[in-house]
Protein backbone atom coordinates (compact mmCIF):
# COMPACT_ATOMS: atom_id res chain seq x y z
CA UNK A 1 0.00 0.00 0.00
CA UNK A 2 2.95 2.30 0.64
CA UNK A 3 3.96 1.77 -2.99
CA UNK A 4 0.42 2.60 -4.10
CA UNK A 5 0.60 5.78 -2.02
CA UNK A 6 3.65 6.64 -4.11
CA UNK A 7 1.50 6.15 -7.23
CA UNK A 8 3.16 2.88 -8.25
CA UNK A 9 0.83 1.44 -10.89
CA UNK A 10 2.30 -2.05 -10.68
CA UNK A 11 1.62 -2.15 -6.95
CA UNK A 12 -1.90 -0.93 -7.60
CA UNK A 13 -2.43 -3.74 -10.11
CA UNK A 14 -1.28 -6.29 -7.50
CA UNK A 15 -3.66 -4.79 -4.96
CA UNK A 16 -6.56 -4.98 -7.43
CA UNK A 17 -5.73 -8.60 -8.24
CA UNK A 18 -5.60 -9.52 -4.58
CA UNK A 19 -8.82 -7.83 -3.42
CA UNK A 20 -11.11 -7.60 -6.46
CA UNK A 21 -12.86 -10.92 -5.95
CA UNK A 22 -13.76 -10.18 -2.33
CA UNK A 23 -14.89 -6.63 -2.97
CA UNK A 24 -16.91 -7.58 -6.05
CA UNK A 25 -18.62 -10.34 -4.06
CA UNK A 26 -19.37 -7.89 -1.24
CA UNK A 27 -20.89 -5.41 -3.69
CA UNK A 28 -22.98 -8.12 -5.32
CA UNK A 29 -24.23 -9.40 -1.96
CA UNK A 30 -25.17 -5.86 -1.02
CA UNK A 31 -26.73 -4.73 -4.29
CA UNK A 32 -27.95 -8.05 -5.83
CA UNK A 33 -27.05 -6.74 -9.26
CA UNK A 34 -23.98 -7.90 -11.19
CA UNK A 35 -23.54 -4.76 -13.27
CA UNK A 36 -23.82 -2.44 -10.28
CA UNK A 37 -21.41 -4.67 -8.32
CA UNK A 38 -18.79 -4.34 -11.06
CA UNK A 39 -19.28 -0.57 -11.36
CA UNK A 40 -18.95 -0.08 -7.61
CA UNK A 41 -15.82 -2.29 -7.52
CA UNK A 42 -14.26 -0.12 -10.21
CA UNK A 43 -15.20 3.09 -8.42
CA UNK A 44 -13.92 1.76 -5.08
CA UNK A 45 -10.51 0.90 -6.52
CA UNK A 46 -10.25 4.24 -8.33
CA UNK A 47 -10.94 5.95 -5.01
CA UNK A 48 -8.16 3.90 -3.48
CA UNK A 49 -5.85 5.08 -6.24
CA UNK A 50 -6.93 8.72 -6.00
CA UNK A 51 -7.07 8.92 -2.21
CA UNK A 52 -4.28 6.51 -1.29
CA UNK A 53 -2.61 9.32 0.63
CA UNK A 54 -5.46 9.42 3.14
CA UNK A 55 -4.97 5.77 4.17
CA UNK A 56 -3.22 5.32 7.51
CA UNK A 57 -1.57 1.91 7.62
CA UNK A 58 -1.40 1.45 11.38
CA UNK A 59 -5.03 2.24 12.03
CA UNK A 60 -7.02 -0.20 9.90
CA UNK A 61 -6.24 -3.09 7.56
CA UNK A 62 -6.34 -2.24 3.88
CA UNK A 63 -9.18 -4.72 3.25
CA UNK A 64 -11.21 -3.08 6.01
CA UNK A 65 -10.64 0.36 4.49
CA UNK A 66 -11.58 -0.92 1.05
CA UNK A 67 -14.77 -2.55 2.35
CA UNK A 68 -15.68 0.70 4.07
CA UNK A 69 -15.29 2.61 0.80
CA UNK A 70 -17.32 -0.03 -1.06
CA UNK A 71 -20.07 -0.05 1.55
CA UNK A 72 -20.47 3.73 1.34
CA UNK A 73 -20.66 3.52 -2.45
CA UNK A 74 -23.19 0.67 -2.22
CA UNK A 75 -25.36 2.65 0.18
CA UNK A 76 -25.29 5.67 -2.13
CA UNK A 77 -26.20 3.55 -5.14
CA UNK A 78 -28.85 1.59 -3.27
CA UNK A 79 -30.54 4.83 -2.29
CA UNK A 80 -30.79 5.69 -5.95
CA UNK A 81 -31.87 2.28 -7.15
CA UNK A 82 -33.96 -0.31 -5.39
CA UNK A 83 -34.33 -3.87 -6.50
CA UNK A 84 -36.95 -4.93 -4.00
CA UNK A 85 -39.19 -6.17 -6.80
CA UNK A 86 -36.79 -9.09 -7.27
CA UNK A 87 -37.51 -10.21 -3.73
CA UNK A 88 -41.29 -9.85 -3.78
CA UNK A 89 -43.05 -13.02 -2.69
CA UNK A 90 -45.23 -13.15 -5.78
CA UNK A 91 -42.32 -13.04 -8.22
CA UNK A 92 -41.56 -16.38 -9.92
CA UNK A 93 -38.09 -17.80 -9.31
CA UNK A 94 -35.60 -18.80 -12.02
CA UNK A 95 -37.50 -22.05 -12.67
CA UNK A 96 -40.74 -20.19 -13.19
CA UNK A 97 -42.17 -21.44 -9.89
CA UNK A 98 -43.90 -19.19 -7.41
CA UNK A 99 -42.37 -19.56 -3.93
CA UNK A 100 -45.46 -21.37 -2.59
CA UNK A 101 -45.12 -24.01 -5.37
CA UNK A 102 -41.39 -24.55 -4.93
CA UNK A 103 -39.75 -27.41 -3.00
CA UNK A 104 -39.03 -26.88 0.72
CA UNK A 105 -35.35 -26.00 0.19
CA UNK A 106 -36.20 -23.37 -2.39
CA UNK A 107 -39.00 -22.01 -0.20
CA UNK A 108 -36.50 -21.64 2.65
CA UNK A 109 -34.00 -19.89 0.37
CA UNK A 110 -36.67 -17.54 -0.98
CA UNK A 111 -37.92 -16.79 2.52
CA UNK A 112 -34.38 -16.14 3.73
CA UNK A 113 -33.77 -13.76 0.83
CA UNK A 114 -36.95 -11.87 1.76
CA UNK A 115 -36.09 -11.75 5.44
CA UNK A 116 -32.54 -10.64 4.72
CA UNK A 117 -33.80 -7.86 2.49
CA UNK A 118 -36.11 -6.74 5.26
CA UNK A 119 -33.32 -6.55 7.87
CA UNK A 120 -31.87 -3.13 8.69
CA UNK A 121 -28.81 -2.49 6.51
CA UNK A 122 -26.29 -2.63 9.36
CA UNK A 123 -27.57 -6.00 10.60
CA UNK A 124 -27.50 -7.45 7.08
CA UNK A 125 -24.03 -6.07 6.38
CA UNK A 126 -22.72 -7.36 9.71
CA UNK A 127 -23.95 -10.87 8.83
CA UNK A 128 -22.50 -10.57 5.34
CA UNK A 129 -19.07 -9.45 6.54
CA UNK A 130 -18.77 -12.18 9.17
CA UNK A 131 -20.41 -15.06 7.28
CA UNK A 132 -19.38 -14.49 3.69
CA UNK A 133 -16.48 -12.06 3.64
CA UNK A 134 -14.61 -14.11 6.23
CA UNK A 135 -13.96 -11.14 8.49
CA UNK A 136 -13.27 -11.25 12.17
CA UNK A 137 -15.74 -9.43 14.39
CA UNK A 138 -13.10 -6.76 14.98
CA UNK A 139 -12.58 -6.07 11.26
CA UNK A 140 -16.31 -6.14 10.54
CA UNK A 141 -16.84 -3.65 13.37
CA UNK A 142 -14.22 -1.37 11.78
CA UNK A 143 -15.99 -1.53 8.40
CA UNK A 144 -19.27 -0.52 10.02
CA UNK A 145 -17.59 2.06 12.26
CA UNK A 146 -18.94 0.54 15.48
CA UNK A 147 -17.44 -1.17 18.53
CA UNK A 148 -17.00 -4.95 18.59
CA UNK A 149 -19.72 -5.16 21.20
CA UNK A 150 -22.12 -3.19 19.01
CA UNK A 151 -21.26 -5.41 16.03
CA UNK A 152 -22.00 -8.56 18.03
CA UNK A 153 -25.28 -7.01 19.07
CA UNK A 154 -26.11 -6.37 15.39
CA UNK A 155 -25.23 -9.99 14.55
CA UNK A 156 -27.33 -11.32 17.40
CA UNK A 157 -30.38 -9.26 16.45
CA UNK A 158 -30.06 -10.20 12.79
CA UNK A 159 -29.63 -13.90 13.43
CA UNK A 160 -32.45 -13.99 15.97
CA UNK A 161 -34.84 -12.29 13.53
CA UNK A 162 -33.91 -14.76 10.78
CA UNK A 163 -34.05 -17.79 13.08
CA UNK A 164 -37.52 -16.94 14.32
CA UNK A 165 -38.83 -16.00 10.88
CA UNK A 166 -37.52 -19.16 9.24
CA UNK A 167 -38.78 -21.64 11.84
CA UNK A 168 -41.99 -22.18 9.86
CA UNK A 169 -40.07 -23.09 6.71
CA UNK A 170 -38.15 -26.01 8.23
Amino acid sequence: MIRVQNQDRDAFAILVGRHLEAIHAFNYRFLRNAEDAADVAQEAFLRVWNKAGTYRAGRVKFSTWLHRIARNLCIDLHRRRTHTEELDSGVPDENGLRPDQAPAGQRLAAALARELAALPERQRTALMLCHSQGMSNRDAAAVLGVSVDALESLLARGRRTLRVALRDYR
Binding site: Q7, R9, F12, A13, V16, G17, L20, E21, H24, A25, F26, Y28, R29, A34, A37, A38, A41, Q42, F45, L46, W49, N50, L108, A109, L112, A113, L116, L127, M128, C130, H131, S132, S136, N137, E152, S153, L155, A156, R157, R159, R160, L162, R163, L166, R170
Partner: protein, 148 residues
Protein backbone atom coordinates in the same frame (compact mmCIF):
# COMPACT_ATOMS: atom_id res chain seq x y z
CA UNK B 1 -27.64 -29.33 37.03
CA UNK B 2 -31.20 -28.47 38.08
CA UNK B 3 -33.91 -28.00 35.47
CA UNK B 4 -34.00 -24.27 36.18
CA UNK B 5 -30.26 -23.80 35.83
CA UNK B 6 -30.27 -25.99 32.69
CA UNK B 7 -32.99 -23.82 31.14
CA UNK B 8 -31.04 -20.72 32.07
CA UNK B 9 -27.88 -22.19 30.50
CA UNK B 10 -29.86 -22.97 27.33
CA UNK B 11 -31.13 -19.39 27.10
CA UNK B 12 -27.59 -18.05 27.46
CA UNK B 13 -26.28 -20.58 24.90
CA UNK B 14 -29.00 -19.65 22.41
CA UNK B 15 -28.22 -15.94 22.82
CA UNK B 16 -24.53 -16.64 22.29
CA UNK B 17 -25.27 -18.70 19.18
CA UNK B 18 -27.08 -15.65 17.83
CA UNK B 19 -24.10 -13.50 18.75
CA UNK B 20 -21.23 -15.67 17.53
CA UNK B 21 -22.82 -18.20 15.13
CA UNK B 22 -22.48 -21.97 14.98
CA UNK B 23 -18.75 -21.99 14.24
CA UNK B 24 -17.31 -22.37 17.74
CA UNK B 25 -13.89 -21.26 16.51
CA UNK B 26 -15.30 -17.72 16.23
CA UNK B 27 -16.31 -17.74 19.87
CA UNK B 28 -14.22 -16.08 22.60
CA UNK B 29 -12.10 -18.75 24.32
CA UNK B 30 -13.84 -18.57 27.69
CA UNK B 31 -17.34 -18.81 26.18
CA UNK B 32 -16.30 -21.63 23.84
CA UNK B 33 -15.11 -23.76 26.78
CA UNK B 34 -18.48 -23.34 28.50
CA UNK B 35 -20.35 -24.13 25.25
CA UNK B 36 -18.31 -27.27 24.61
CA UNK B 37 -19.06 -28.50 28.12
CA UNK B 38 -22.76 -27.91 27.56
CA UNK B 39 -22.74 -29.64 24.18
CA UNK B 40 -21.21 -32.76 25.69
CA UNK B 41 -24.01 -33.17 28.18
CA UNK B 42 -27.14 -31.65 26.63
CA UNK B 43 -29.11 -32.83 23.62
CA UNK B 44 -31.03 -29.52 23.71
CA UNK B 45 -27.73 -27.67 23.26
CA UNK B 46 -26.81 -29.96 20.35
CA UNK B 47 -30.19 -29.27 18.75
CA UNK B 48 -29.70 -25.50 19.12
CA UNK B 49 -26.22 -25.77 17.59
CA UNK B 50 -27.59 -27.79 14.66
CA UNK B 51 -30.29 -25.17 14.11
CA UNK B 52 -27.68 -22.39 14.16
CA UNK B 53 -25.46 -24.36 11.75
CA UNK B 54 -28.44 -24.72 9.41
CA UNK B 55 -28.97 -20.97 9.49
CA UNK B 56 -25.25 -20.39 8.81
CA UNK B 57 -25.41 -22.71 5.81
CA UNK B 58 -28.55 -20.99 4.51
CA UNK B 59 -26.85 -17.61 4.94
CA UNK B 60 -23.77 -18.83 3.05
CA UNK B 61 -26.05 -19.97 0.22
CA UNK B 62 -28.03 -16.72 0.26
CA UNK B 63 -24.86 -14.66 0.05
CA UNK B 64 -23.42 -16.60 -2.88
CA UNK B 65 -21.89 -14.24 -5.44
CA UNK B 66 -21.04 -14.68 -9.13
CA UNK B 67 -17.39 -14.65 -10.28
CA UNK B 68 -15.71 -11.39 -11.19
CA UNK B 69 -16.74 -10.41 -14.74
CA UNK B 70 -14.13 -10.97 -17.44
CA UNK B 71 -12.13 -7.85 -18.12
CA UNK B 72 -13.10 -5.96 -14.96
CA UNK B 73 -9.59 -6.13 -13.51
CA UNK B 74 -8.09 -4.84 -16.78
CA UNK B 75 -10.71 -2.09 -16.94
CA UNK B 76 -9.89 -0.88 -13.43
CA UNK B 77 -6.15 -0.80 -14.09
CA UNK B 78 -6.69 0.96 -17.42
CA UNK B 79 -8.85 3.61 -15.75
CA UNK B 80 -6.17 4.30 -13.15
CA UNK B 81 -3.55 4.50 -15.90
CA UNK B 82 -5.72 6.81 -18.00
CA UNK B 83 -6.13 9.17 -15.06
CA UNK B 84 -2.37 9.10 -14.62
CA UNK B 85 -1.69 9.91 -18.25
CA UNK B 86 -4.11 12.83 -18.10
CA UNK B 87 -2.51 14.16 -14.90
CA UNK B 88 0.94 13.78 -16.40
CA UNK B 89 -0.12 15.70 -19.48
CA UNK B 90 -1.64 18.43 -17.31
CA UNK B 91 1.44 18.84 -15.15
CA UNK B 92 4.08 18.53 -17.84
CA UNK B 93 2.42 20.19 -20.81
CA UNK B 94 -0.01 22.77 -19.51
CA UNK B 95 1.50 23.84 -16.23
CA UNK B 96 5.19 23.40 -16.98
CA UNK B 97 7.84 25.40 -18.84
CA UNK B 98 6.92 25.49 -22.54
CA UNK B 99 3.72 27.39 -21.91
CA UNK B 100 4.96 29.72 -19.20
CA UNK B 101 6.26 32.57 -21.47
CA UNK B 102 3.09 32.46 -23.47
CA UNK B 103 1.05 32.47 -20.26
CA UNK B 104 3.03 35.44 -18.97
CA UNK B 105 2.47 37.30 -22.26
CA UNK B 106 -1.25 36.68 -21.96
CA UNK B 107 -1.52 38.27 -18.50
CA UNK B 108 -1.47 41.94 -19.67
CA UNK B 109 -3.86 41.03 -22.46
CA UNK B 110 -6.32 39.48 -20.03
CA UNK B 111 -5.96 42.40 -17.60
CA UNK B 112 -6.52 44.90 -20.39
CA UNK B 113 -9.58 43.03 -21.56
CA UNK B 114 -10.97 42.92 -18.00
CA UNK B 115 -10.38 46.66 -17.54
CA UNK B 116 -11.98 47.45 -20.88
CA UNK B 117 -14.98 45.35 -20.00
CA UNK B 118 -15.43 47.06 -16.67
CA UNK B 119 -15.18 50.55 -18.31
CA UNK B 120 -17.75 49.48 -20.90
CA UNK B 121 -20.12 48.48 -18.11
CA UNK B 122 -19.76 51.98 -16.53
CA UNK B 123 -20.52 53.61 -19.87
CA UNK B 124 -23.53 51.40 -20.32
CA UNK B 125 -24.83 52.47 -16.91
CA UNK B 126 -24.38 56.11 -17.83
CA UNK B 127 -26.11 55.68 -21.15
CA UNK B 128 -29.02 53.95 -19.46
CA UNK B 129 -29.52 56.83 -17.02
CA UNK B 130 -29.36 59.38 -19.85
CA UNK B 131 -31.93 57.40 -21.84
CA UNK B 132 -34.25 57.24 -18.85
CA UNK B 133 -33.93 60.97 -18.29
CA UNK B 134 -34.77 61.83 -21.91
CA UNK B 135 -37.56 59.34 -22.32
CA UNK B 136 -39.48 60.60 -19.28
CA UNK B 137 -42.80 62.28 -20.11
CA UNK B 138 -42.44 64.51 -17.07
CA UNK B 139 -40.45 67.69 -17.61
CA UNK B 140 -37.12 67.47 -15.95
CA UNK B 141 -36.66 69.66 -12.97
CA UNK B 142 -33.75 71.85 -13.88
CA UNK B 143 -32.38 74.04 -11.25
CA UNK B 144 -31.95 77.60 -12.41
CA UNK B 145 -28.31 78.26 -12.86
CA UNK B 146 -28.67 81.99 -13.32
CA UNK B 147 -27.07 81.80 -16.76
CA UNK B 148 -28.85 83.64 -19.60
Amino acid sequence: MTTESHNQAMLVFEAELDRYGADLLRWPDDRRAVAEGLLESSSSAQRLLAEAAELDAALAAAFVAPPVPMGLETRINARAERRDIWLEWLTTTVLMRPWRPLGAACVPLVLGFALGLSAAEDTADLEDSVLVAFSSSEPLAVEPTGEQ
